[in-house]
Structures are given as C-alpha cells and as structure tokens.
C-alpha cells in the first residue's frame, strides 16, 4: 500500500511538470506583454516593472526561474496586484471555494446515493421512474440555468435566502445546492446501476438464505460493491465541481478562487492564471490519488 502511494506520488511529478511548462509557454505566446494594455504607463516605469517581474530576461531564463520557485512552492507575484503574491491570493480565496465545493460534493453524495439505493430496491416502480426522471433533469439543467432560476424562485420571489453574498450560513445553501444537484443526479444513476448489478448476484441469495434482513443485505452486503462506480466517478466529479464553481461564484458573487480565476483571466494577470492552473492540477491529482486509495480499500481484489 505504501509502495503504491509512493509510486503514484512519483508519477504526479512529471504530470505537474508538464502542466507547469505548458501553461508557462502558452501564456508567453501571447502577443504583447502584460502591461501593454495600460495606456498611461511611461516607458521608464514599464521598464522598471518588467525588471521587477524579471520579464527583461530571456524567456528560457524566466522559465528556469519560475520552475525554481515552483519547486519551493512559490507561485510568484501577481501582475495586477503589485503587493500581493499568487500564494497569498490563493490562501485568502481558496477556503471559500473549498467550503462551497465540499458542501456541494457532500450534498451530491448524500442525495445521489439515497435516491439511487431507493430506486434500485424497487426497480421499474413509480418511485424508480420518478428518481430517474428527476436525475435526468438534474443532468440536463446546467448550473448556469439552475442558479439563476433558484435565485429567481427562492431569493427574489419567496425571499427565503439572499440572492448573493457569502456572509452567514444561509448564504451557503443555494450555491451549494445549485452546484451539487447535477452531480447528485449522476451519482444517483451510478448508484442505481451499481446496486442493481450487486443485488442480482448469487451472494445476495446466500445472504438471504442466511436469514439476513433487507437492511443488512443493503448495508453490509451490497453497498460496498454497489458504490464502486460512484467512487471511480468522484475524480471527474471533483474536477467538474471545481470548474463549476467558476460559474456559481460568478452568479452568487462569492469571493472564492473560481471567480478570482475568471477575473484574472479577463485581466490577463498571467502569473495569477498560471499559478491557479498549477494549483488546480495539484489539487485534482491529489484528489484522484485519494480516490484510488478509497477504491483499493473498498475492493479487496485490488489489494496491493
């Protein structure tokens, strides 16, 4: 197990290296420097700025410098916020996004697994069709449609919660629900399929023959195998929730990393964009590692 984790950690190094290199050179390919857009900058100040950020050096030297700092975990200074580093910006905005994403994922798992198990217990019943129908709607109503609709209904018409902001805990409900619902729907479908597959196996008949109750059959005999498809979906789901947070944070005006990323992209704050992309890659890679470990833990045939 330890060898497996160590091997996977080693594998992430080239992946992150490629990501860093790709983003770095992609950003450098842009015609014009980051300060060209600002009209009122005198040439001498512009030169000073470029020296400050090391932009006067050859590109390859800049690349080596960047990698050198990256190894130490330093993502460099922001081009637009002169006094702040990318690290600081991430540190101040990411907790908000993490909270949003965590709540969305938790909600998705809770709703999705419950609905999926219920549907699988009574396949082809009215309950099953209802659950499947709702989950299909969840898949086809994208967050940027659902978000505004939720605001319209729950904030503007019913006035249950605020339409935007991130101050008290009630402000968390709508964004987390909007972000989580599509994934809840997909997880429900995966759970239903996984559980139906497991429930049709011979060993479930064995459990029944032993006199196990329905609850015992579900929780002790089926869930572990039935949730395997859900677990392997968690990696893509996390990546999706992460990018989904761009839209959610924009719609609900939440001061998280996602909205900050989109603004930085518009402002052509290249160090910021590069830094956030690398940060996201690290995040996703580690989350996938975590998912793999859970999978091995759940499926004894995969034991290392």
């Amino acid at each position: 197990m330890f060898r497996f984790i160590a091997a996977r950690l080693l594998q992430t190094i080239p992946v992150l290296f490629v990501v860093a290199t790709l983003t770095f050179f992609m950003v450098r390919l842009v015609p014009g420097g980051p300060f060209d857009a600002e009209r009122n900058v005198p040439p001498e100040i512009k030169r000073e700025l470029e020296a400050y950020y090391g932009l006067d050096k050859p590109v390859f030297q800049q690349y080596l410098d960047y990698l050198g700092r990256l190894v130490r975990g330093d993502l460099g200074p922001s081009y637009k916020f002169a006094n702040r580093s990318v690290n600081e910006m991430i540190a101040s905005t990411f907790p908000v996004s993490l909270q949003l994403g965590g709540m969305a994922l938790g909600l998705a798992l809770l709703l999705g697994i419950t609905a999926g198990v219920i549907a699988a217990l009574r396949p082809n019943s009215a309950l099953d069709y209802t659950a499947s129908g709702i989950s299909m709607m969840g898949i086809c109503l994208p967050t940027f449609v659902l978000g505004p609709l939720f605001i319209l209904v729950f904030a503007l018409n019913l006035r249950w919660v605020n339409a935007s902001g991130w101050f008290d805990s009630a402000d968390r409900i709508l964004p987390a629900a909007t972000l989580g619902i599509a994934y809840a729907a997909y997880i429900a479908r995966l759970t239903r399929g996984g559980m139906l597959e497991i429930l049709s196996q011979d060993f479930i008949r064995t459990a029944r023959a032993k006199g196990a109750s329905e609850a015992r059959i579900i929780f002790r005999h089926s869930l572990r195998g039935g949730l395997l498809p859900v677990v392997s979906y968690l990696g893509p789901a996390a990546a999706g929730i992460l990018t989904g947070s761009f839209v959610i944070e924009t719609i609900f005006q939440i001061p998280g990393l996602g909205r900050h990323f989109v603004t930085s992209a518009f402002n052509r704050d290249f160090t910021m964009v590069t830094g956030i992309v690398i940060f996201y890659a690290v995040l996703i890679v580690f989350f996938n590692l975590l998912v793999d470990i859970v999978q091995i833990w759940l499926n004894p045939k995969l034991k290392y």
Partner: protein, 293 residues
C-alpha cells in the same frame, strides 16, 4: 470462394442495424428525443427565413416586452425579436456542438484505433496518457486557451474538441482490441481475406455502433461546455450570440424580464435532454457497454 462469402454474411451488418432500429423505436423517450431534436433543428435552420423580423432589427415601440402576438417570445432590452434571436443562437450552439464533436471524433477515433491496432507497450503508454489527461481539469485549459488566443469561434470548437476526445479514444481502442482477439477475425484471416477487406468489412461496421452512440452523447457535453464558456463571457462574442450568451444576458435581467432567461434556457435544456435520451436509447438499442479497457 463461397466460404468467404459466408463469413461476410455472418458479420453484424444490416440485420444488426435493423434490430437496433426496431428496439430504438420502442423506446418512447428516445423517440421523443429524436422528434424534438428534428423539430428544434428545423426551427433554427428554416425559421429565420419565415420570420418577420431579422436578427438585429430593433423595434423601437417594443423594448423588453413579454411574449405577445407580435413577438411570440417577447423582445429584448434593445427591442429585438427574441424568437429570431433564439433561432440564430440555436444555429450557433448546434453548429459549435457538431463541429467540436467532429474534431473530438477525429482525434478520438484516430488515437483509439492506433492504440488498439498497435497493441502491446505502445498501447499501454498511449492509454496511460489518456488516464493522466482524464485526471486534469481540462476546462481550465480551455479557459486559458480562450484568454490567451482571443475569443475566436474556430478556436473555440477546436479547443473544446481537443478536450472531449478522451472517452471516444477509450471506446474505440476497447472495441478494436476486443475485435482483434475475436474468432471471426481470425477465421477471416485464415481464409485469406486481405487486411484492407478485414478493416472495411469487419472492423468498421463493428466500431460504428459505439462511435455513433458516443458521438450522440458528446454533442450535448460539447454544447454544455460552449454555453459554460459563453456564460463566463469567454465563448461566442457579440454580435454573434449562442444560447449560452443569451442565458447569460437573460440571467442579468431576470428580475425584471424573466422571459429573457426562461425561453433560451428552455430551448437549451430541451436540446440537451433530447440528445441525452436519444444517445441513451441508441446505447441500449445497439447494446453498447462502457468499459475502461
């Protein structure tokens, strides 16, 4: 050579597709999806010619009016007829969806077929790359691409297509791999059929089903990504507008003029709905299963 003819007859040819068609017709949701899709497509393609209004024409007497006899879907803030704009937006959304899907189809099929044919270590390495790419937050790269290279519509569907090919590559590779091992291919080889003939008569018809299914399912994924980018202001740029940009504009004004959000959102969701139902139906009808290897 009569034997060769017999082997050819045994291939999953016309009868497989006819069975699939019969099964598809029995699936009510899939039929609904197919019919809705045809209606929406016709509406968007033919509609603008029949419409009394043009795409940019402003009706100064009718600013931001709800649906009426004059303007069935209402007008926007500038007094433009929303129905005509929905038609044009649909052309862009469906167009981007189809073009980007074609890009992803090309990359995915070539990559998957190559890995499947070569096999061995090359195949393992190629599929490992796909695994790694799967794990990366690709939408972020598309955003980066759009920011760096400007918001150009051709780049948009190339970028989207370049992201969405992974599943297709896996499917095709899996099919080719399993077909290579199948007995009827070996039988065909031992009967002296040429490689070209095997590929044309056996491989392609067998790969076609899964590819058709996943193409149908890729279009909504691609349309979703386009609308997502457009919603963030990184996709289709004015004066062009897709359903995604219309939803974005509508969301900003939804408090006063809810129809500007509701109608494009309804069209967009209905299209995704139909494509997904049709894709699912096709998958069941052709009995295609997802597999990782």
């Amino acid at each position: 050579m009569p034997d060769v003819a017999e082997i050819d007859a045994a291939e999953p040819g016309a009868s497989l597709w006819r069975d699939a068609w019969l099964r598809l017709r029995k699936n009510r949701l899939a039929v609904f999806g197919g019919v809705a899709l045809i209606i929406i497509t016709l509406f968007c393609l033919v509609g603008p010619w029949l419409s009394r209004y043009t795409y940019e024409e402003q009706d100064f007497a009718q600013y931001a009016k709800p649906p009426s006899a004059l303007h069935w879907f209402g007008t926007d803030k500038l007094g433009r007829d929303q129905m005509t704009r929905i038609m044009h937006g649909g052309r862009i959304s469906l167009g981007v969806g189809i073009c980007a899907t074609l890009v992803s189809l090309t990359i995915g099929v070539l990559y998957g077929a190559l890995a499947g044919f070569l096999g061995g270590k090359t195949d393992a390495a190629m599929m490992r790359i796909v695994d790694i790419l799967y794990a990366l937050p690709f939408t972020v790269f598309v955003i980066l691409l759009m920011v760096v290279f400007g918001r150009n519509i051709v780049l948009l569907f190339v970028a989207i297509g370049a992201v969405e090919w992974l599943t297709m590559a896996r499917i095709v590779r899996g099919q080719v791999q399993s077909l290579r091992k199948q007995e009827f291919i070996e039988a065909a080889l031992s009967l002296g059929l040429s490689q070209r003939r095997i590929i044309l008569r056996h491989m392609i018809p067998n790969v076609l089903g899964p590819v058709a299914v996943y193409t149908t399912l890729t279009i909504p994924a691609v349309m979703l990504l386009e609308a997502f980018l457009s919603f963030l202001g990184l996709g289709v740029q004015p004066p062009m507008s897709s359903w995604g940009t219309m939803i974005k504009d509508g969301a900003e004004l939804m408090e006063e003029f809810p129809w500007l959000l509701m109608i494009p959102a309804a069209f967009f969701s209905l299209t995704l709905f139909s494509l997904n139902f049709l894709g699912d139906g096709l998958r069941d009808a052709l009995d295609v299963r997802t597999s990782k290897d």
